[in-house]
């Protein structure tokens, strides 16, 4: 494993070169680097850091892996006491909160230029995830997204072209209807169809937070947003209601999705060839590949509306935490050089071995991905939007996920579920604002 990894690393280095400035020329410094890649991605990160140390004799990076949640709890006290790590990785749902509370220092345009970090190289919304009020605070190194898996065998079986995944609402609905077949062989558009005795069905919807990301995508696709210009919750706009209504209708009117389902149940159904389309996190890719399923991956089709392509994404960003006054300028320059190096195409290509999506077009165009299933989403990676840009992500997402649950399970009409969610979120935001008015 390690050897293959090293060989891949070497090859990618040769293939992509080491473009960009890594021009730290100061005295030898030691940097602490805190990240949360504690799973199978840990050895990949460690080998990258080792490679950096081997090739940069005047910078010594000491990496520490610790679970994300621990870092979110510790970072405030580390920053407050002036003992923050030189470089820390912060995820998309936490970054704006830390930025707004002053835990992260801005990366000036001059610094980015000197370090050779060109934001235009990255997917726009991904880089902007760590932006706040016109300033950049982080550089993306890892990215996941909500995608749509589809079962090619099942699509062929019901007479559909397995190499034409849906892009529009009409195409999506047609596939979903054709795939929904009852035990007597009638599909959902035919007379006498019995939705209570399904053999196969069109699309997986489910009630947890991952399931709620279908609603998130639909709302953004219809021109809606989770928050308004004042950063209050606004996922009950007419665009949002109409987009979520379409999804709920898939269950209640079109009968092409199962009611009361769970992520596990739909995952099992997709693995067993019972459902044509399974929207979920791209992290399931490995599982379907291991299973040798005949499946494809595509970007979330425009089910919510026609305004734009959109899907949810999660990401990890290299940041420079706020340091005590008199912090060594050489350390900051070295830290920027390290960030720049780690975000290079060569390193990002190595990193995609962990299951991460490319952070930039140059990596997505690499020959390695030509036959990979995941490249089905690469044409629209510029439309992946994280839940960031407002400092109260938790206050918005918890009520949002619950609103989706209530709407999907049919416990409340869509508009009421979303209104209730927005009301709760805004009460929480009103309280949270007080923390920022000091």
């Amino acid at each position: 494993m390690n050897r293959t990894l090293r060989r891949t690393a070497l090859l990618t280095l040769l293939a992509l070169g080491t473009a960009g400035a890594q021009n730290y020329t100061g005295p030898k410094v030691q940097l602490s680097f805190l990240h949360g890649f504690t799973g199978p991605d840990r050895p990949v990160m460690e080998s990258l850091v080792k490679r950096f140390n081997d090739t940069h004799p005047n910078i010594q990076v000491r990496a520490q892996a610790q679970p994300w949640a621990t870092t979110w709890q510790q970072l405030p006290s580390l920053v407050a006491s002036g003992r923050a790590p030189d470089v820390a990785v912060i995820n998309e749902d936490q970054i704006t909160g830390f930025v707004a509370r002053g835990a992260v220092s801005p990366l000036t345009a001059a610094e980015l230029r000197t370090a050779g970090i060109d934001k235009a190289r990255f997917f726009g919304p991904l880089f902007a995830t760590a932006d706040y009020q016109g300033q950049s605070y982080g550089v993306p190194i890892s990215s996941v997204a909500y995608v749509m898996f589809y079962n090619k065998d099942l699509m062929r079986k019901v007479g559909l072209d397995p190499n034409k995944p849906p892009r529009t609402r009409a195409e999506f609905l047609q596939i979903a209807q054709r795939c929904t077949v009852d035990k007597s062989g009638k599909n959902s558009t035919q007379a006498g169809f019995d939705p209570r005795n399904l053999d196969t069905w069109g699309v997986s919807l489910y009630n947890n937070w991952v399931g709620a990301r279908a609603a998130y995508a639909a709302i953004l696709q219809n021109g809606g947003s989770l928050i308004d210009a004042k950063q209050n919750a606004a996922f009950n706009s007419p665009q949002a209601v109409s987009a979520v209504q379409f999804l709920v209708d898939l269950v209640q009117k079109q009968r092409v999705a199962r009611p009361n389902s769970t992520e596990e149940a739909e995952l099992a159904a997709f693995s067993q060839g019972k459902v044509c389309m399974f929207p979920s996190g791209q992290w399931y890719l490995d599982r379907f590949e291991t299973q040798k399923m005949n499946f494809g991956v595509t970007f979330m089709p425009r089910v919510g509306g026609t305004v734009r392509d959109a899907a949810w994404g999660g990401s990890s960003h290299l940041t420079l935490p706020r340091q005590r006054p008199g912090y060594d300028a050489n350390k900051r320059a070295a830290a920027l050089a390290f960030m720049s190096w780690l975000a290079q195409p060569a390193q990002n290509l190595t990193w995609t071995a962990t299951g991460s999506l490319p952070t930039q077009g140059a990596v997505a165009r690499n020959a390695k991905f030509e036959t990979a299933a995941i490249s089905g989403v690469f044409d629209r990676l510029n439309s992946v939007y994280a839940t960031s840009g407002f400092p109260w992500v938790g206050q918005v997402m918890v009520p949002f996920d619950q609103a989706w649950e209530a709407a999907y399970l049919g416990k409340k009409p869509v508009a009421q579920a979303l209104n209730d969610g927005v009301r709760e979120a805004n009460k929480q935001i009103e309280q949270a604002r007080k923390n920022f008015q000091q």
């Binding site: 830390f98 009630n207 596990e264 938790g394 619950q402 399970l409 709760e424 000091q438």
Partner: protein
Amino acid sequence: MTVTNAPSEVATARAPAPRPRLNIEPYLYLLPHALLFFVFTIYPIGYGLYISLHRWDLLSGRQPFVGGEFYRNIFTPGTPQADFFWKTLWNTTFFTIVSVPLLVAAALGLALLLHKPIFGRAFFRAVFFMPGILTVSVMGILWRWMFDNQIGLVNAARELFFRAPPIPWLSTEGLAWVPIVVGTIWWTLGFNMTLYLAALGNVPASLYEAASLDGATPWQSFRFITVPMLAPVTLFVLVTTALASFQLFGQSLVITNGGPSRSTQSVIQYITEEGFTNAQYSSAAAMGFVFGLFMLVLTAIQFRSMARDVKETGA
């Protein structure tokens, strides 16, 4: 008064007691624990109290004093804290009310069965105790799968034997408690059972012999010998089980994630959400204190009523 006081005054006057010398030896023995107690209990409580009375955020330069604002939120109708703290506290109480009697009764029943010299006794004791060694995540995922709305074993069995449609256990208010309660009983029963088994071994056989000579029925032996003799253990089991049930966290987090609509969310899960998802540390600390006080009062009541019983029955 003067009369009663007089002799002692006289006594003092006559023979002044030697000034008691401060003997530090016992305090030295207490010191190691006292240190840990102060560092890990008293100091955090004091600091927590400070946090709950201030708008506390380490990242902001100031931690302004806000008095009882975060305590008032809990009691002001319409705030998220008033809505969810009491709702989740009730959820937790409901879980305790349902699960404690089941856990105590079932543990006693099993202990009575496995106390008898039946075939494979040690094997069964091990079987019933074994789930307790699992972590809560393993146990939670197991029961979430068992009761899955679509593919769970329970629904599969219902369909196989009764041709009944699947029940959406995990997403129906009320029913969502079933996997949590059943799973918890399965998970923690063995511990209480072991306590009862040990206590049963200490009940003198002569009592039962005497009772049977007097013509007592098995029920009478159980009611008038076993139950009173087990009273101290029952007190212990009740108090520890009730406290453990009030600390419900992992089971509902893993099995239902508190859903649907917070109907199975435990108060600790809500406090965690307030603290670490909403970054409202002071509010979470305040709720922690209110909940802690609630538990303290409850345990005191339990001890008083039960301790009286134990004393009265003379065990």
